[in-house]
């Protein structure tokens, strides 16, 4: 029975040592990138909390088109932008780290469910990354059309 299961499993795609090593290496780099991004986002949040009250008036002096906008409105807009930015990139970082940790662990303890969970995190990461890519492409198209 076991032999039968193994041969049916061998007839399709396998996680050989070569594939496993590639995934293990990828997970290591993803973990590093995830930790670096989490630290950068943490520093960014800290900077915003510490120097946030200074940034809004500074922004108003740097961008003359914002001169007529009230201080409270400007702060509100700034907080919204920062929250969206942190939420989006924070989510990306969490899913990248989840992929890295789950895949590395799954290969070490040979756990199929954990391996699939890691792949699911990678799919969500790539989906969010893809949507950001499409939106930035659209913004680039408008930028070029404006310049022409």
């Amino acid at each position: 029975m076991d032999q039968e299961n193994k041969s049916s499993f061998l007839s399709d795609l396998l996680v050989t040592h070569s594939v496993g090593d590639h995934l293990h290496d990828s997970a290591k780099w993803c973990r590093f990138i995830g930790i670096a991004f989490a630290s950068i986002l943490g520093l960014y949040l800290l900077l915003f909390l510490v120097a946030g009250s200074v940034v809004a008036p500074l922004l108003a002096t740097m961008l003359p088109e914002l001169k007529g906008v009230g201080g409270n409105v400007l702060t509100g807009v700034l907080v919204t932008v920062v929250v969206i930015f942190l939420g989006l990139f924070g989510t990306l970082t969490v899913y990248l780290l989840r992929f890295a940790l789950l895949t590395k662990k799954a290969l070490e303890v040979r756990n199929q469910a954990m391996f699939n969970e890691g792949l699911r995190s990678l799919r969500i990461f790539f989906a969010i990354y893809g949507v950001i890519g499409i939106l930035s492409l659209i913004s680039n198209v408008f930028q070029v059309l404006k310049a022409l």
């Binding site: 399709d12 795609l13 290496d25 990828s26 993803c30 670096a36 989906a127 492409l137 680039n140």
Partner: protein, 144 residues
């Protein structure tokens, strides 16, 4: 004996139906990301050629334009190389799933590994420059 060798070479983790479906989605998004990146790089190049650069102090108009185009070219080249690996990953994994081709799967995951490795090395370089700039800024402030 041969059967034993093959099973010894496995991680006891397989690409089951669930993993296949997830990998197919991942491969699709990887190709979308790579293709949109290539299109964005093309537009950025076009923009750098048509947009009038802000003249920086000490640089004439044409020097500013040349330096702007050179910087854009460097970024676009690095980005294109990086995303070629992502495209290869997406294409190979899709082919592996469609045709049950083990060699394509291995080649795809190798490209995936190289993609993250390059991204990690680039991140180290960028972070080093940021740390250096901050240190220079601190030193500069202390002595002025």
């Amino acid at each position: 004996m041969e059967q034993e060798n093959i099973t010894d070479d496995l991680f006891d983790v397989e690409i089951d139906q669930k993993a296949k479906s997830l990998l197919a989605d991942i491969a699709r998004w990887a190709r979308i990301i790579a293709i949109t990146s290539f299109a964005s790089y093309g537009l950025t190049l076009l923009y750098s050629f048509v947009a009038v650069p802000e003249v920086q102090s000490g640089l004439t108009g044409s020097a500013a334009r040349i330096s702007q185009i050179a910087i854009v070219l460097i970024f676009v080249t690095i980005g294109t190389i990086l995303n070629l690996f992502l495209l290869r990953f997406g294409t190979d994994v899709k082919a592996a799933i469609d045709t049950s081709n083990q060699a394509k799967l291995e080649s795809g995951f190798n490209s995936f590994r190289i993609y993250w490795k390059i991204a990690g090395i680039l991140l180290i370089i960028v972070l080093s420059f940021v740390v250096l700039a901050v240190l220079l800024g601190i030193v500069g402030n202390r002595y002025t």
